[in-house]
């Protein structure tokens, strides 16, 4: 029953990382996650519903996210998702990993904005 550490999940696939990012500030339902990913990546990453829920299923199995009760005033059909402590740690670890790669790119004279 010992849970896996955050580093065991790295590197993350773009879909997993963007879902974790999307849930890092608030609980969202599936379509809201799709919209948020579309907005934050300026349309570069566009997840289809099959990919989204397949990824969500595996993330729940890995205990990175969990279903939450959401806003009772909202549509009852919707299922909301909430980032777990482990999920947050994994997102942090992935951010740190990506940041260190960017630092290496900068040191080697590659253009970063």
């Amino acid at each position: 029953m010992k849970s896996r550490s955050a580093d065991d999940f790295l590197p993350l696939t773009p879909a997993v990382f963007h879902i974790l990012l999307s849930l890092s500030d608030t609980d969202r339902h599936g379509y809201a996650i799709m919209q948020d990913v579309d907005t934050t990546t300026k349309g570069q990453i566009r997840m289809g519903p099959g990919t989204l829920y397949g990824t969500i299923k595996r993330m729940i199995e890995d205990k990175l996210i969990e279903e939450s009760s959401g806003d009772p005033a909202e549509d009852q059909r919707r299922r909301y998702y909430h980032i777990t402590t482990l999920g947050r740690a994994v997102a942090n670890a992935e951010s740190t990993r990506l940041y260190s790669i960017v630092q290496v790119a900068k040191q080697r004279g590659l253009q970063t904005r």
Binding site: M1, K2, S3, G30, Y31, M34, R46, M47, G48, P49, G50, T51, L52, Y53, G54, I56, K57, R58, S69, P72, A73, R77, R78, R79
Partner: protein, 420 residues
């Protein structure tokens, strides 16, 4: 005209996707099929041109094909993993049986030689019986959500529960407290009494906390310990030849004495045979109906129902198999407002407790089994007909009735009032 065309494209897309869901593994289809279709509907609601609607349809179908293949690959790899795990478990079991047979043989030789020390140690370890010790400690967390009309509140708690044969103890801590409240609760059953210990966040009325001492092996519902006990430590209750009634999990009215509700349950097939599911029914014969604000007509309606009203449901979310015993991986407990069901025909959930096991160790936590207080505690002792109220300073909770009045080993106890 344009919106009509978009609607037709949307409906066609949904129809095709519904058929395409058959390409996905059944488990995914059953759990997420509806949500996927809802997301497609939502996506179409943001499309206002025919070109975009056609583009979206292609995108969705392409995604459906790739994700169906991905889901099947994932399900296949899980099955392979399961096969490998089963093979390893089989080998492990075989080695364990050989090792146990060897140990059993060597133990018998010791007894034959007159060495009985191992047997007497076993009796001492269990406290009251020479049965095989059953010890474990479970750590986890749970979320309690209460829903009343439009108001809902959720709180998260962590817990530790330890069991050593018939002894058990549990402690619960509120993880995120919205206001500063008494957040830590510990309850211990030491084979004789239950002690519930509530430390105050800061001393009040000259005391560092409260303690309640009662007889019996059933926990009280303070701090959700009874709900945790049901999930992880209630084997003794279910092992008894019992009728179809159970002690209630939460007190719904202020009646004195224990209340039992009609119930149905199923148990795990492997020891210690903890409950897999429990349904508590609202039983008009048992509950004090006027206290719920029910009219006589409503009481009559409940009495005449062919199907009893469900008051609460418990369901384990799966069982582990650690060292030959099965403990829940978590559980979900929901309570319903029965009066609403009479009015509207559908049950309204008023609370939900969702627990998750985080760690299991096969040893008990002796520290948790200590019903000892540090500081000055106000004690309400209900083991007599009347409640004894006294103060306890830096000492153990007394475990015998006689100790309350005559035993001077609790020299620090100060009488606060005569029996109420």
């Amino acid at each position: 005209m344009k919106s009509c065309a978009i609607k037709t494209i949307r409906d066609t897309c949904l129809w095709f996707y519904r058929q395409m869901l058959r390409l996905f593994p059944a488990q995914f289809r059953n759990h997420y099929g509806f949500l996927v279709l809802s997301a497609i509907e939502d996506e179409f609601s943001q499309v206002f041109s025919i070109r975009k609607a056609v583009g979206l349809t292609f995108h969705i179908f392409l995604d459906a094909f790739t994700s169906a293949v991905r889901e099947h690959c994932h399900a296949f790899s899980k099955r392979t993993l399961y096969f490998r795990a089963s093979l390893l478990a089989f080998l492990g079991l075989y080695l364990a049986i050989v090792a146990l047979a060897f140990l059993h043989l060597s133990n018998n030789l010791h007894v034959a030689n007159g060495d009985l020390s191992s047997q007497s140690q076993n009796v001492a370890a269990t406290g009251v019986s020479a049965a095989k010790p059953l010890t474990y400690t479970v750590d986890g967390k749970f979320r309690y959500k209460v829903q009343l009309s439009q108001i809902s509140q959720t709180q998260e708690y962590s817990f530790r529960l330890t069991v050593s044969n018939q002894f058990w103890a549990a402690s619960v801590h509120l993880i995120r407290a919205p206001i500063r409240t008494a957040t830590d609760i510990k309850q211990v059953y030491n084979g004789d009494v239950r002690a519930s210990i509530f430390p105050f966040p800061s001393p009040k009325r000259g005391a560092d906390g409260l303690a309640f001492v009662r007889s019996g092996d059933l926990p009280t519902s303070d701090g959700f310990i009874r709900q945790l006990w049901l999930g992880y430590a209630s084997q003794r209750v279910f092992a008894r030849p019992e009728t179809n009634r159970l002690e209630v999990l939460c007190r719904l009215d202020d009646r004195e004495g224990p209340a039992r509700a009609a119930a149905e349950w199923t148990l795990s097939r492997t020891p210690p045979h903890l409950p897999a599911s429990v349904t508590y029914f609202f039983d008009p014969a048992d509950w004090n109906m006027p206290r719920f604000g029910l009219s006589s007509e409503q009481v009559e309606l409940i009495s005449k129902r062919s199907q009893p009203l469900v008051w609460a449901t418990y369901k384990a979310t799966g069982f582990t198999n650690a060292s030959g015993i099965s403990l829940p991986q978590g559980f979900r407990l929901a309570g319903y407002e029965s009066v609403n069901e009479i009015r509207t025909g559908s049950p309204q959930r008023v609370f939900e407790l969702e627990a998750e096991t985080e760690n299991i160790s096969m040893i008990c936590d002796p520290e948790l089994l200590q019903s000892r207080v540090t500081g000055a505690y106000e004690v309400y002792d209900t083991r007599l007909v009347f409640t004894m109220h006294y103060k306890l300073v830096n000492s153990d909770i007394p475990d015998r009735i006689a100790a309350l009045q005559f035993d001077d080993t609790y020299a620090n106890r100060v009488a606060m009032s005569s029996p109420k």
